[in-house]
Subunit: 294 residues, 2 copies
Amino acid sequence: MPKRTYGEILGFPQGSTFANRSELATSQVHRPNQGGICGGADGAESIVVSGGYVDDEDYGDEIVYTGQGGNDPSTKRQIADQKLILGNLGLARSQLDGNPVRVIRGAGGDPKYSPTTGLRYDGLFRVVDHWTATGIDGFKIRRYRLVALESADPPPDPPPTDTDTGAVRVEATIQRLVRSTAVALAVKRLHDYTCQVCGIQLSTPAGPYVEAAHIQPLGKPHNGPDIAGNILCLCPNHHVLFDAGAIYVAASGQVRDAANDAVMGDLRTANGHSLDWAYLEYHREHHISDEKTG
Amino acid sequence: MPKRTYGEILGFPQGSTFANRSELATSQVHRPNQGGICGGADGAESIVVSGGYVDDEDYGDEIVYTGQGGNDPSTKRQIADQKLILGNLGLARSQLDGNPVRVIRGAGGDPKYSPTTGLRYDGLFRVVDHWTATGIDGFKIRRYRLVALESADPPPDPPPTDTDTGAVRVEATIQRLVRSTAVALAVKRLHDYTCQVCGIQLSTPAGPYVEAAHIQPLGKPHNGPDIAGNILCLCPNHHVLFDAGAIYVAASGQVRDAANDAVMGDLRTANGHSLDWAYLEYHREHHISDEKTG
């Protein structure tokens, strides 16, 4: 397994430019000469966004990135399903570990944010979500939402210098997003701060704690609504598992383990909290697929 | 229980000024005529920072705020311990719920950030930590770290207008901080991504998930170090409980429930991960006190 360097590479600050992929690879900012993702089962350290996939969406500080594989390099069209392996698995792993990913944009990407020639290192992003979808060409694609690390979140300590590799690992502050809104608070109260999967209520000196999980996520590109019908009341453990697609709610109302479809029990309900099942179907479609063993 | 309005008050954007407390109270930006915290068991909606407590620390975008009670209004010195009740409980509750708190600065506060006369609404902050400490005057005080909500985190949808109260609830995106650093990753691997309290390993399609909990927190004012000896490997549920002071590690190595000191088991260990017990003592001193039933 290669030794990975997460964070910035010494001598190549944000904005550094490269004439071509070979120069980029030499810099270590993105090591592979061809692939768009530098990563594997242990994590992903960098990606190149250069218009190689028709489903990519670039919003500057936010990128909806398509995983690797299944496309024809000459036409750039998808010709097969993408699987959760290699770099695709690496980006998902980096989300779980909260590691930052270097983003390099190349000519060929969205002209609004990409260099006109060559490649440019555009800083550190974090992977905040990943899911599957059916791409423009009709095949399953892996999608990742990456958000630029705010410069307002400096590392807590001066970055350690690794003199062996000449790399500076900028240890960014990573945040697991837990949104709170008035409707989320109302749902929590209806469930008396208990988890709809396991029934646990975490008790603290300041009172009970539970999280509101939006089923169809808020924000691009899902744009789920912030309404009670789109919210589950979950303990942090089941929130993580639900967001990661490790568990899902079947049409029967049973909570199931995605690894083996084993039934974990019925989703718990509360008077006054009506779920809209279309959002649970959206969650299944974007996380539970035939390829889960891929 | 009063109807609380979390977020911005319609007509009073950040920077709004008020001649005195009575004018401020009329605006609803901070409703009490006297108290520094507008809140109770259900949450806190606003605080006034105006130099009333000797232990307050103001860093602009970050405030270490002292709870209410136990001080002599004329001398501003602490003369008794502060308890987790009323507004103090409200701020802790707002941390658990992730609700934003309006911050009003008054003349008398740190001159670097405070108005020279009257009061000024300085925007929405989130409570990211709370603990007990011994204040400058030798009594137990309740402390809260508040961080300004980034303008980079706009609400996901246009804020709903509540025409009954004339209030706009800006539903801020709240984030539970989960830091990730190279040393945190190393600790997770030593424990094979299992929780040191319950032994669970959360399994997801992209691999196992666990969190690194800094025992003495990073950042102001704790300034704990980012080293393996200051990190516990915890599932999200036990991370929440540990940070909230609901559980602690006794000097014996037993994990205990703070509510009744019941033993939950021995803290699990892993070869190669040595804890520094001074940090666990720091955690106990700042969370587990005689007043926990207060």
